[in-house]
Each structure stands twice: as structure tokens, then as C-alpha cells.
């Protein structure tokens, strides 16, 4: 096991930030911590990177206890905090050089590991970090976190505030790093990124909702979901919400995801009901549950 977390709880004054958090991350796994802002992701990351001490429970990283062996952990992990913590007034190269030096290494020594990523920003190596785009900052921050060849990599919301192209590239990079044997724990508020991880923990309000592989998580979803659309979204939502058999009604892009309480539900009956509510162009189709559906069902 590369990371073990058992029954971790943490409170700030009266606010419970984390409650009985548990999960294990296997060696070489790409593990996702999925949850909205304020779910407790950053607090958990800080406990695992030895920056905070939990009130209860225990955790190990790379075989070391996060409290008693904190110094050993600090030598063996790479950490990329939420805000791409870089020195804005230093250039790309100076930032990287600095982090290499404080970890007692050089860019040359571990160039192989960061090469894929660094070549993309190398043309701008004399530009100051403060003047980079979100995507470039993200790549630089990743290089800085990797420069000492860590065994475990902690990435706290690396894709927040970054455009889709950079996000896609970033996940491709993570996959390649994983192949080099690095264990990666990544947090994200984007449900669609869960599918890119080997396993995920869904977290909300400081509690774990579920831990499993993404495709296993959606299999737990027991109800049939229907994609429904009509000529007017607002009226459709209102009509479905006032339908007495509804189990859940969630807008989902151009559709509404609907589930029914009854086992013998017949979409035709619903269509008749919606027509009685003066809706037109009604389409009702079966659809597969997504991580987001599962998340909402569990958080309900």
C-alpha cells in the first residue's frame, strides 16, 4: 500500500472538516478524490503531506506514519498545492532550478522524468511564472513537484481554472507518469475527470460517499435513468418535480435526468402526463448513469 488512511477526523474549532475518512491507495495507482469545493479535499491533502495533524485516526504515506515519520515523507513525496504555488517573479527555469536545489538534486539528474512536460514550456523558460497562462503554470508546477523523483505525488485540484485543452493534456501526462511507477493522488471538483482515474473516492461535507473504480461506482446505481427533453426546459423541470412518482429530477445539459419511484414505471404514462401539462416535443429515452448521477444519489 502506498497510502493508507484510516478513520481520519479533523475539526477546525466548531467546524468538522473531515469525518472518519478511510481509503487505501495501491502502489502505482492513479487515485482520484472527487468532491466539490469545501468537501475537505485540501484538508485531507495537508494531513497526508504532513502539514496538518488529524484529531483522530492514522495515515501512512510510502510506508511512513504522517505524524511520527514526517521528515521521511517530506523527502519522498511531491506536492502541488491548489494554487500552483510558484514564485511569480522567478522565470520558469529559475523556479525549477530552485525546487531542484532545495530537494538536493539538479534538473539534469531527473530530466528524463520531466522531459515530456518540460519540453512544452521550455521555449518560454526565461519568462516569469507570473506571466504564464494557467495551462503553462500548471505544467511548471507539475515539473517542480516531480523534480526530485518522488514516490508519491499529491496533486490538489491541478485542473481547476485551466482550459479544456490543458486539462486533457494534463491527464495524459498523469497517465504517463503512472507508467513510470509513481503513485498519484489527485483531487478534483470535476465529476467527469473521475472516469480517468483507476479508483476514486467520492467525498462531500467531509465524509466519504464511496470508494471504488469509476465503472464499478456507476454499476452500483440501481435505478433506470431517463433522458427527457421538451420544448421548454423550465416548464419541463417544474412539471417533473410536481409529478408525484418522481424519485429524482436533475437538469443535465440539454436533458433532464429523471428517475421514478415505481419498479413498473412506463415512460408512456409520463409522456401523457407531460402533454397534459402543455409540453411539446417531448422525448424520453433510457440513458446510462454517470458518476455525477451516483454522486447526487449518494449525497441526497
Amino acid at each position: 500500500m502506498s497510502i493508507t488512511v484510516s478513520n481520519i477526523s479533523k475539526s477546525y474549532k466548531s467546524v468538522k472538516a473531515l469525518e472518519n475518512i478511510y481509503f487505501n491507495v495501491k502502489e502505482g495507482e492513479l487515485f482520484g478524490l472527487i468532491g466539490p469545493d469545501g468537501a475537505g479535499k485540501t484538508t485531507l491533502f495537508r494531513i497526508l503531506t504532513t502539514l496538518l495533524i488529524a484529531n483522530e485516526g492514522s495515515a501512512t504515506v510510502a510506508g511512513f506514519d504522517v505524524v511520527s515519520d514526517y521528515k521521511k515523507i517530506r523527502n519522498n513525496v511531491g506536492y502541488m498545492p491548489g494554487k500552483f504555488s510558484l514564485y511569480q517573479d522567478l522565470t520558469i527555469e529559475e523556479n525549477l532550478n530552485f525546487f531542484a536545489t532545495i530537494f538536493g538534486t539538479t534538473i539534469k539528474e531527473n530530466y528524463e522524468l520531466i522531459k515530456d512536460i518540460y519540453v512544452q514550456i521550455e521555449p518560454f523558460k526565461d519568462r516569469r511564472a507570473g506571466k504564464l497562462s494557467g495551462g503553462m503554470k500548471q505544467k511548471l508546477a507539475l515539473c517542480c513537484a516531480l523534480i526530485h523523483k518522488p514516490k508519491v505525488l499529491f496533486l490538489d485540484e491541478p485542473t481547476t481554472g485551466v482550459d479544456p485543452v490543458s486539462r486533457k493534456e494534463f491527464w495524459d501526462m498523469l497517465k504517463r507518469l503512472q507508467q513510470k511507477g509513481i503513485t498519484i493522488l489527485v483531487s478534483t471538483p470535476y465529476m467527469d475527470e473521475a472516469a480517468l482515474c483507476d479508483r476514486v473516492a467520492l467525498i462531500q461535507d467531509g465524509k466519504i460517499l464511496q470508494v471504488d473504480a469509476p465503472n464499478a461506482i456507476v454499476k452500483h446505481y440501481s435505478k433506470q435513468i431517463y433522458n427527457i427533453s421538451a420544448h421548454n426546459m423550465y416548464l419541463l423541470i417544474n412539471a417533473l418535480k410536481s409529478y408525484k412518482y418522481n424519485h429524482s429530477v436533475y437538469p443535465f445539459g440539454e436533458f433532464v435526468h429523471y428517475t421514478d419511484q415505481r419498479a413498473d414505471f412506463n415512460p408512456e404514462n409520463l409522456k401523457v402526463y407531460l402533454e397534459s401539462k402543455k409540453l411539446s416535443q417531448i422525448v424520453i429515452k433510457n440513458t446510462e448513469p454517470t458518476i455525477e448521477d451516483t454522486f447526487m444519489e449518494l449525497a441526497k
Binding site: R46, S85, D89, T101
Partner: protein
Amino acid sequence: MKRFIGFIKKEFYHIFRDRRSLFILFGMPIAQIMLFGFAITNEINNVDIAVLDHSKDATTEEIINKISASKYFSINQFIEKESDIDAIFKKGKVKAVLNFEKDFSKNLIKDHNATIQIVTDATDPNTANTISNYVNAILIQYQSVLNKDINITYQVVPETRMVYNPELKSVYMFVPGVMTIILMLVSAMMTSISITREKELGTMEILLVSPIKPIQVIVGKVFPYIFLSIINAIVIVILSIYIFKMPIQGSLILLALESVLFIITALALGILISTISETQQTAMMISLMGLMLPVILLSGFIFPISSMPLPLQLISNIIPAKWFNIIIKGIMLKGVGIQFLWKETLILIGMSVFFIALSVKKYKIRLE
């Protein structure tokens, strides 16, 4: 060691790339010295005074001539009656009135005693005090000439001799004060800001989650500012020697060593401030309110400590600037050596050790 050098290199990048701070860092000492040296001064020059002469005889005329001949005063006008004094002060231009009693010469010859009243506008007590001292000085001088002539020497004439700063040049008083302020400000405020900036940026998190030791971070932060503060001290001393012709009586080496000691005390305070503040703004507020004001008000730089109320006198003892101010005045103005300053030096060393110990103890290896 490589880590440490890498860290220091980074700190110098920060300093030299922040043009505005750099300008303040080096512009401020020069501006302050100039300001205190030229603009704010205790000396008086061509102060307007009025005369109310009830005798109008030869002696009063002579005294009036003597006073108006000095570069300190110029006779603005003559008034006729006591009630005019108030009116003339209210206009604001005249700062003092010389009031000669009736039959001044006669009384002087007959009783060997005549009275001049010096009425000063004490809305500015410092100036008022200086004016009356200067007039007294002129009168005493006149008296001694007079006494020689008429050969009566029994009178005891009090004489105040200004030592160490015989010309009473206020710039001599301000240079040590300004040096104290600048060193305090640069060292304490700049270090505390530079450490809290890392907290704000989030880079402190990465530094903590790295093998670099807390002591390396602290010393790495402090080192560049020791260097910059020393440059500042040198600039101030050079300015005071060459622009204000201020003689440095004591040993320059001792002055340098004591300055480094004070810089270290201030840096230790800066680190302490950074351990208790989370943002650059808080660090700056604490440095300004908690350090600058006491340094200016309680170090004896502007207000003499001996004339403060007792509680303030006691408080002034915990202000490092007070001790440095004594040391630096001792070296610059009196030219004394370590044998007279060892006590103050020891106090500063003690304070530094205390602050450093406290900040190392308070420095968090974690975020809370």
C-alpha cells in the same frame, strides 16, 4: 549547503526584481536623512521678535542692537504698551517680545540689577525654549562685557556649555535616530513581509513539504537583509560625514559591529512577527505599529527618555532601539569605546538570543 545557497540566490532574485521595494529600501534612508537634516531642525534663524522698551535709554538701545545684530533674531517691530503683546502674538509672525522695565539704565547702575522680561509664544514649546536660551546667552555675554567695564565681578554668571554638540546642530542628533529607524524598518519589516509572502502564495507549503530545514529557511530569509541593512548603514554614515560634516568621534569598526548586532536583533524581531502573522498586510501593520512607533517615540530619538513619565521610561527599556540609540550616540558623538558601552551591548545580545530562540520555538513545521 547547496540548498542554502540556492535559497539565498532565490531571495536576491525576489529583492532585485521588486523595483518598487528596492527603491524604497535605498531611497528612504537618503530621503529621511535629508528631511531630518535640512527641513526638521531645532535651530533657530532670523526669528522675528518685537521690543517693548519702557526706558528707551542707551543701555536698552545697546542690548537691542546686540540682539538684532545676531543672526538668530531680527527685530520686527517696536510696540508701546503691554496690551499690544497679546495682539502681536495672535498675528503669529512674532515669536517673542523683549520687555525692558522702566528706568532700565538707572536701575542697573543704582541697584546693579535691571529686569528684562522675555515673553515667548509657547504654542511651539521647543522653539520658545530655544529662543529664551539664545536671548539669555546674548544677555549674559553683554553682562560680562558690562561687568568688566564697571569692574564689579561678584556676580555669579551661570554658563551653559554645550558639550559633544557644541554648535547644537540638530542633524547630529537625528543621524543616529534615523539610522536606528532605517535599520529597524529594513530588517524587521522586510523580512517579516518576505516570509509571509511565501505563506500567502502557498509556496511555504511546498517548502515545508521538502527536506529543507526550518533553520535554513529562516537564515536564508535573513541573510540578504543583513547585507542590505549594512549597505544602508554605510550610506547613512557617508551622507552624514560628507553632507552634514558630522564628525564620527569613535571607532568606525566598533560602530560597524554594533550596527550588525542591532540588525540581527531587528531581523530576529522580523522573524518573530512573521511567525504570528498570516498575511503580508498583517506583518506590515505589526511592524509599523508595533515597531516603528515605539522606535520613534520611546527610543529617546525625538523625546528625551528622562523627561517621560515613569511607566513610559520603564517600557522604553524593552525597546531595542533605545539601547542602540545610546550606543550609536556614544560612538558617533562622544567617541567612547566598548568599555563604556558593554552594558548596552550585552542587553542587545540578550534580546537577540531571546527573540531568535522564541521564533525558532514558534516556527511551525506544520501549517497550524
